[in-house]
Amino acid sequence: MAEEVQKFKVSIDGISVDVDAGTTILNAARKIGGDIVPPAMCYYSKLEGSGGKCRTCLVKVTKGSEKDPRPMPKLVASCRTTVMDGMEVQNITSPDVVEARKSVVEMLLINHPLDCPVCDQAGECKLQDLGYEHGSENTRYDFPRRTFERIDIGDKIQLHMNRCILCYRCVYVANQLTNTREHGILYRGDHAEISTYIENALDNDYIGNVIDVCPVGALTDKTFRFKNRVWFTKPVNAHRDCPSCSGRVTLWYKGSDVLRVTARKDEYDEVEEFICNTCRFDKKETADWTLEDPTKVSQESVIASNHYTQFQPPAVIPENTPLKEANWEQLARTEKLK
């Protein structure tokens, strides 16, 4: 007989949800959905040990649990803090959290250039989204930014260290998907940088996944760079019989040309299954693939522009009063789009 999983009830911005013991606050929030979900720049559910670093997902725990109702003294990283039964959490309803998130965005943008007009990540950049939601119009930082030369780490991947926010996701990918530890963090503090061992090439068969996990434009696909804007392309789900990975991908079409191939991503922009370099870089003909259906793109994403599919309201519950109050922006958008 299967062991019964203990369930905990947790309330996030006034919305209750039952989750398994051991679930993090972030994943509990994802179960509810909507704007109640804290942003995450470094957490990646598919990568073991990720999260806790960028501090964008900070939330306020106003009640620890039923047994110990004391609030937690500091804001906590929701991606690494597990829920307790009866825990009460504030995300967007806490001015402290909103203020802290704004601070983190300001810090992240200190050494991240706003070169969105030329950056290949534009339209898919989580920092861009975060900047729009929490950033200020002006910067208070008037010192020179750190700058780096671009580095080709392998023949298909280019590293723009200028744009890196040191989320460590690519390091975890390299460590967890490949057999050799080829790249990591050099130096400390604001001098820290991602690098391979003395500018080595990354040539492992799965290393292309570092591109998919990068939340900003620090690691880019050289086969796609400057080919097109992502919102002018049409994503289509496809698969092939691949001997080394699942072969389940998204093809990004411009007309009849496949401009790039990526792993399929979920609603939180995390890949569902990592794919091999062959699928990613070498199979760019329609004939290589069995096409499935158009990729579902969030209505809020810029990629959705000019993509007409039947509108599905996001997973908010219009009847839920607390959620209505907490997610007024989300609801406004939902109503507008109906």
Partner: protein
């Protein structure tokens, strides 16, 4: 004369060696613990003593020990944090240099209490002399039967190793220390899980400061209740204070907790007042990370009571008018010292030592340093003080480990108590630029950034 427990035999010639240390009554606590006490008895005595961690946080040691998970078939570890990198703090290396066997003895007793059979002394990598001294002391203790298999015929085994650290300040943070000890980059781990549940190699681990471990020796020798009689309130026992700065007699002193701060600074038994007959301007009471206090607030609380060398009294008034005991790095500043320059100097240190994992600490410490550099060098603007205040506020409490707080607190306290000095630098930029402290060769942080 204040009572001494750790430095009792500091002046005995040759106390570094096992034979002299033993002749002075050394290793009695090991004999007593292993022959007549159970591990739980030892933990109980430490609890009774009220000993609080001497590394900085001041958490009750006995309680910390009692949190240690004890799953079957899983090893437990004791790790001594001898990384000691806080600017202004040098008491642990003093103890390790002069009486290394006090630490070894404490390690054996503490390891026995925790059921650890392998223990480590993690020493900052730059402290090679201390590492050699400890290695020699361990070899002597082993030769005398106090380490290894079946210690004193008790059936208890313990192997003790000295591990040189990575030479980074952050490696003194307990989880970064464990990462470093495991051979990885010394980045702090995100807690929970706490080391008591999953520490070294994922096993239950206690990390204690050198002084805390050494203090278990007199606790076991004389009993926890006797130890608790020394000191006052919840600050029991004695404390090593490393006194530096503009004091007439800087050095490491063992004080009974509860000693008035004024007496510590001005009495001949301790610091002997301010050097060259100058006036005291400010004090950093517990290492560079704790808030600086002006002279009037370090000797008296805001309510007018005499400020005592206790965890409670030093913290009286919160950060508005109080500070912290911290690691006991007591730095005095005379009337000629520039608080802005000092704050910049501290911030420069924290910027350099930030591990860079989390955004507020990585970017915020660098930002603070650049703003402080500008103010100190007469290039500041009127907005810079408020900007600094805001940056430190955004770092504090939002980082993975306490290094962010350690960087933020000195800046906050300096602005809170010495705002007029910051304003002077901004309003008298030309004069500030012309001051020469012999530091002109130091690189402009802005230039460093441009070059990289």
């Amino acid at each position: 004369m204040g009572r001494k427990l750790l430095l009792t035999h500091i002046d005995v010639p040759g106390i570094q060696s096992y034979s002299v240390y033993k002749a002075q009554g050394g290793y009695r606590s090991v004999d007593k613990a292993l022959k007549s006490m159970s591990p739980d008895d030892v933990v109980e005595e430490v609890k009774k003593s009220g000993l609080r961690g001497r590394g900085g946080a001041g958490f009750p040691t006995g309680m910390k020990w009692s949190f240690l998970a004890k799953p079957e078939g899983v090893p437990r570890y004791l790790v001594c944090n001898a990384d000691e990198s806080e600017p202004g703090t040098f008491k642990d290396r003093y103890l390790m240099t002069h009486i290394p066997h006090a630490l070894i003895e404490g390690m054996i007793v503490s390891s026995y209490a925790l059921g650890a059979h392998t223990s480590f002394i993690y020493v900052r990598g730059e402290m090679m002399p201390q590492i050699r001294i400890l290695e020699k002391a361990i070899a002597e203790a082993k030769a005398a039967g106090y380490l290894g298999k079946n210690i004193l015929g008790s059936g208890y085994d313990l192997e003790l190793y000295v591990q040189p650290g990575g030479g980074a300040y952050i490696c003194g943070e307990e989880t970064a220390l464990l990462e470093s000890l495991e051979g990885k980059r010394g980045n702090p781990r995100i807690k929970p899980p706490f080391p008591a549940i999953a520490g070294l190699y994922g096993c239950p681990t206690v990390v204690n400061n050198v002084e805390s471990i050494a203090a278990t020796v007199p606790i076991i020798n004389d009993g926890g209740e006797e130890y608790a009689k020394i000191g006052i309130e919840r600050s029991t026992g004695t404390k090593l204070i490393s006194a530096g700065g503009n004091l007439a007699k800087p050095g490491v002193y063992e004080i009974e907790l509860g000693l008035p701060v004024e007496e510590f600074i001005y009495s001949d038994e301790y610091c002997g007042g301010i050097a060259n007959g100058k006036k005291l301007k400010a004090v950093v009471a517990g290492g560079s990370s704790v808030p600086i206090l002006p002279a009037n607030l370090i000797t008296k609380t805001i309510k007018g009571d005499a400020r005592l060398m206790t965890y409670e009294s030093l913290a009286d008034g919160g950060f508005q008018s109080g500070t912290m005991m911290g690691s006991g790095g007591f730095i005095a500043f005379d009337e000629d010292q520039c608080i802005v320059r000092n704050t910049w100097n501290f911030t420069r240190f924290y910027r350099h030592e930030s591990c860079g994992q989390c955004s507020p600490c990585r970017e915020g410490t660098g930002w603070m340093e650049k703003v402080l550099y500008n103010i100190e060098h007469g290039r500041g603007t009127t907005n810079d003080i408020d900007l600094l205040w805001d940056i430190q506020r955004k770092i504090e409490g939002n980082t993975i480990c306490p290094l962010g707080d350690a960087a933020a607190w000195p800046v906050a306290a300096a602005i809170r108590h010495f705002r007029d000095e910051f304003e002077w630098h901004i309003n008298h930029g030309q004069e500030a630029q012309n001051r020469n402290y012999g530091l002109a060769h130091y690189a402009d942080p802005l230039e460093v950034v441009t070059e990289s």
